[in-house]
């Protein structure tokens, strides 16, 4: 059991020869196999962030509302009235590519544990998903499995899955992305941190029995590209048990609220190894773990397997001798295993025992602090261009039927309604949902309070590919803008950074650029990064995904009843475009769908204008001046207008704050619009073309609708903010003109059919 491990064994476990030499130096000789297994996991990319740590320091991470920044299980933000929100996002990309249902399910399970381990009751789940094009059967299989797995696990837990995003690009074909975000509510005076303390205290394992799940998962799957050996790595997949996790949530929250535990940590990537080493190093103490006391599901497991197993639904708690009896009682009531497997010591060493024999003896702090740090020399990729594309009639012939072009865009999988997915999710359990999926942001109330919270997930991978700095900056701006459209104040970010192989200079350049873009936007918008996750090695056969830095953002309300959604409400309402007048071909959905190209230079976000727009938009919503607000994103202004019309007429929409408010437009009657876009020459990037004024993309644009009698007060509230009155809400059709000249008229019913056509692609 304490046999010595050679450099060959180290390499097989994913370590380099240099890292092995470093380990020998720390251990004072050749490590035991158990020790080597522990190092290999803790120093893997997934656990140690060795390529990303040096760069992530750029993020702003603190602020007056921030109670806990990066470094704990989740970030925590004060939202008023003694309440705080714990929030985090995590990737489960590689396991989902192998077994989509269980990969996604266990991804949800893992992130939820990060939330309740701090004492927060999970109240929100959101998922950002990316696949290859739906024309490929395997991609349909992955989509079906991932959505099914999220539904299976989240619904069983009774946590509303209230939003997210789904995108389809060829670049994700070999590497799907599954980013699972969760948030929970906690009283500010009851936060538990994962710090072991109290010499002599018990180390207690609670939850499921330990098997061979995921053995090698963190070091094998997430720290390497996929290649021909993918099939052989399959047996590492974990299977989730949401029933046990639901019991775990109830038991652990009770333990925490009754102050029965000193601290708690969930077992995630690298299982017992990472939990025990993190808890002891943060607490500057040692831990003795008796691996032979761990309840097993599989007979004949070896101590190194027990230490690195990623069996799900397990928690580690530090419990005093006085409280262990009460802890056992709670666990027994919930039918959960509760086993003392070790003790807190003053040795500052992580010691693993096997039937009395010591098989590992590692200095906890050095294991955590001396993990390698690697900064690859970055290289700007050759494909990056510094100029936008020339939108000429040869490369980009003008469409003859703009109405058909709009319908084609609405039917594009990246734009079309994702109702097929979110109707598989319980989005209303816990009775807090104010805004159901489908609008710009998800909104929840806080019980016994007027306050509320809102969430958004955003990233345009294509934009980030063309310009990682501008694209990442735009992702933050868009997330905040979506929250502003709902009337919420953005306050914090949790990020999931999905990239290719960081050992390659071009990928590392993308990563550095994206982090810089995020940092600048977060500084300007005052949304510190409180938690997050980095997923590298999203490459197959040398082909990397688009750099995809996904931004999960939290917004708050003093009074949640001011929230609005994106739907037009009444005929005669005035439609106004706030912000920039711009529409670019570069990187747009229109460029991809109509021309089959992805090229050019995406526009940059004017952060000053963005901040002004969001501030004034929010003020107008709080003054109850607006009936609707919608961000202009993929598909540009025309798609945004179409979406406002479609949402206005379809069933299943959100309710209003004021139950007496008019509901015209709901329950089967279509609302349309009659708008004039002004001159194409005035639209930056449109090259004088009507199609780009309609479908071109640019940041910092919001479409709002307002009752005619409130247009004056709105004008006053907006001050000098750039804007254009586009037209009026009407019935039945969406009609667009340009300086009076007709561009198209399409029945909203037809737009609705195109927008709801995703299920047809899945048959």
């Amino acid at each position: 059991m304490s046999r010595r491990a050679t450099v060959e064994a180290a390499v097989k476990l994913g370590l380099t020869a240099d890292e092995y030499a470093h380990i020998c130096a720390i251990q004072g000789g050749e490590p035991t196999y158990v020790e080597l297994a522990i190092y290999s996991l803790m120093w893997s990319e997934h656990c140690s962030y060795k390529h990303s740590r040096p760069v992530l320091g750029r993020f702003p991470t603190s602020g007056p509302r921030i109670l806990q920044g990066p470094g704990e299980n989740a970030g925590i933000i004060d939202v008023g009235d003694g309440w705080a929100v714990a929030m985090k996002v995590e990737s489960h990309n590689h396991p989902s590519a192998v077994e989509p249902f269980q990969g996604a399910a266990t991804g949800v399970g893992g992130i939820v544990r990060d939330i309740f381990t701090m004492g927060a009751r999970p109240c929100v789940s959101m998922d950002s998903l990316r696949f290859g094009e739906l024309t490929e059967p395997r991609q349909r299989f992955l989509l079906d499995g991932v959505v099914g797995g999220i539904a299976h696990y989240g619904n069983c837990l009774g946590i509303p899955t209230i939003g997210g995003e789904i995108y389809f690009e060829p670049s994700y074909e070999g590497n799907c992305l599954v980013n699972a975000m969760s948030a929970g509510m906690i009283r500010t005076d009851n936060i538990v941190r994962a710090i072991a303390s109290g010499i002599g205290n018990h180390v207690v394992l609670i939850g499921s029995k330990t098997g061979r799940d995921g053995i090698g998962g963190a070091s094998v799957l997430a720290s390497q590209e996929f290649d021909e050996t993918l099939e052989e790595k399959r047996p590492s997949v974990q299977v989730g048990d949401p029933f046990t996790e639901k019991k775990l949530i109830e038991a652990c929250l009770e333990l925490i609220h009754r102050h029965l535990v000193v601290s708690m940590q969930d077992l995630g990537a690298a299982g017992l190894t990472s939990s025990s080493s993190e808890m002891s190093s943060k607490g500057h103490v040692g831990l003795d773990i008796h691996a032979d006391r761990v309840p097993l599901r599989e007979a004949d497991m070896e101590p190194w397997e027990i230490m690195i197993s990623e069996s799900q639904e397990r928690m580690l708690a530090i419990v005093t001798a006085e409280q262990i009896a009460d802890v056992r009682e709670v666990c027994e009531r919930w039918d959960l295993d509760c086993t003392v497997i070790g003790a807190v010591t003053d040795s500052k060493m992580l010691r693993i025992w096997w039937h009395g024999e010591r098989v590992a003896n590692i200095p906890a702090r050095r294991l955590a602090d001396e993990s390698p740090v690697i900064r690859t020399p970055s290289v700007k990729p050759g494909y990056i261009v510094d100029e936008p594309v020339a939108v000429d009639d040869t490369g980009y012939p003008r469409p003859s039927d703009l109405g058909a072009a709009l319908t084609q865009l609405l039917a594009a999988p990246n734009i079309a309604s994702k109702r097929w997915a979110w109707e598989q999710y319980d989005y209303i359990v816990q009775a807090n949902t104010v805004q159901i999926p489908g609008s710009d942001a998800a909104v929840l109330r806080i019980k016994d309070s007027q306050r509320g919270i809102a969430f958004s997930n955003d990233c345009n991978g294509r934009h980030c590919y063309l310009d990682p700095y501008r694209g990442a900056k735009a992702a933050v701006a868009e997330a905040a803008r979506n929250l502003a459209c709902a009337g919420a104040l953005p306050v914090a970010v949790t990020d999931c950074l999905n990239f290719g192989n960081p050992e390659k200079g071009e990928i590392y350049w993308q990563f550095e650029q994206a982090v810089e873009g995020i940092a600048q936007a977060c500084e300007a918008l005052d949304t510190p990064v409180v938690s997050g996750n980095v997923s590298f090695y999203n490459e197959s056969f040398g082909q990397a995904i688009y750099p995809t830095p996904m931004i999960g953002m939290l917004g708050v309300y003093d009074d949640v009843s001011v929230h609005i959604d994106d739907a037009f409400k009444d005929e005669g309402d005035v439609i106004v475009l706030l912000g920039a007048e711009a529409g670019w071909m570069d990187g747009s959905e229109y460029q991809k769908v109509a021309y089959g190209k992805v090229e050019g230079r995406v526009p940059d976000v004017d952060l000053q204008l963005e901040v002004e727009l969001q501030h004034k938009l929010r003020a107008a919503i709080e003054a109850r001046l607006l009936k609707s607000a919608h961000d202009c994103a993929e598909g540009g202004l025309a798609v945004a207008l179409a979406e406002c019309c479609i949402a206005g007429g379809s069933t299943g929409g959100a309710q209003f704050a004021d139950p007496e408010a008019p509901r015209s437009g709901r329950h089967g009657r279509w609302l349309g619009a009659d708008v004039d876009l002004g001159s194409a020459a005035a639209v930056a990037g449109a090259a004088g073309r009507p199609d780009l004024a309609l479908f071109g993309e640019a940041p910092t644009r919001v479409v709002v609708s307002v009752a005619p009698e409130l247009l004056g007060p709105l004008d006053e509230a907006l001050g000098g903010l750039p804007r254009r009155v586009l037209g009026r809400v009407t019935g039945a059709n969406l009609r667009c003109t340009m300086e009076g000249k007709e561009l198209f008229t399409v029945a909203v019913g037809e737009l609705h059919s195109a927008y709801e056509s995703l299920p047809q692609r899945l048959a």
Binding site: G158, I428, N432, H667
Partner: protein, 242 residues
């Protein structure tokens, strides 16, 4: 002299996850109290109405409600029902009542084979129950369903008896209250969304009225009269008894 509150009990099985919502919904009705009834207990603690809430008791493993029906609390619920006590099962609660034999029929997988979370329209088929007395006959409600196994099925003979005995309480319908294509979210036989027993004191429904008690939230408030009916019934019964 204020009347004593109407006492509701909400049973909690391991895996129930709509129990808190049921208690919260009741808290919006003044003059009521709600407490949790733990599955391992055998004491109904003197409640005057019992709710089996929605969720995934025992993970929905084996069959929905199949394990929950053997919980110690269930014998007390069965006795309570036998003596005329009001028992309502919502979603997983409905499934448990059916497994326990307190309601006829069975609930199988949705025909779409997927979990469905969606607003549906329900037509109140009979107001002659303690659960629908506050509604008007034929009233159309907008309530959320969220389930994977909501497809109500029953053999033809039993169905005929149920129809004759006015035991079909709620049906899926369109906004105008008509049975129609697309109105039924799960393929349930005869668009059945909720049924009661012959004695009319046990009721099960797949949609979630506890998520429709506050007008300003996404679920709206069409579920309020359901709880109100139960409250009114208990008060009337208590009055008669006194």
């Amino acid at each position: 002299m204020s009347a004593a509150p109407v006492r509701f009990g909400v049973v909690v099985f391991p895996g129930s996850n709509c129990d808190a919502d049921a208690c919260h919904a009741l808290s919006t009705f003044p003059g009521t109290s709600a407490q949790y009834l733990w599955h391992k207990d055998t004491d109904l603690k003197g409640v005057q109405a019992v709710i089996l809430p929605g969720g995934f008791s025992y993970g929905d493993y084996l069959r929905c409600g199949a394990i929950a029906r053997f919980s110690p609390i269930m014998q007390a619920v069965i006795d309570f029902a036998a003596s005329g006590g009001l028992v309502m099962g919502i979603c997983n609660g409905f499934q448990t009542l059916v497994e326990a034999g307190l309601l006829p029929g069975g609930l199988i997988r949705n025909t779409g084979l997927k979990f469905v979370c969606r607003y549906v329209n329900l037509r109140v088929e009979t107001t002659d129950t303690p659960f629908t007395s506050a509604y008007a006959a034929g009233e159309v409600l907008r309530i959320v369903v969220k389930h994977n196994e909501g497809n109500y099925t029953v053999d033809p003979e039993t169905l005929a008896r149920m129809q004759a005995a006015d035991q079909i309480v709620l049906r899926y319908a369109d906004a105008a209250g008509e049975q129609a294509e697309g109105a039924n979210p799960n393929g349930a036989l005869d668009d059945i969304a909720g049924v009661c027993n012959e004695a009319r004191n046990v009721f099960g429904m797949m949609p979630h009225p506890e998520n429709s008690v506050e007008a300003h939230l996404a679920g709206g408030a069409d579920g309020r009269k359901l709880f109100q009916s139960m409250i009114d019934t208990v008060l009337r019964t208590a009055e008669v008894a006194s």
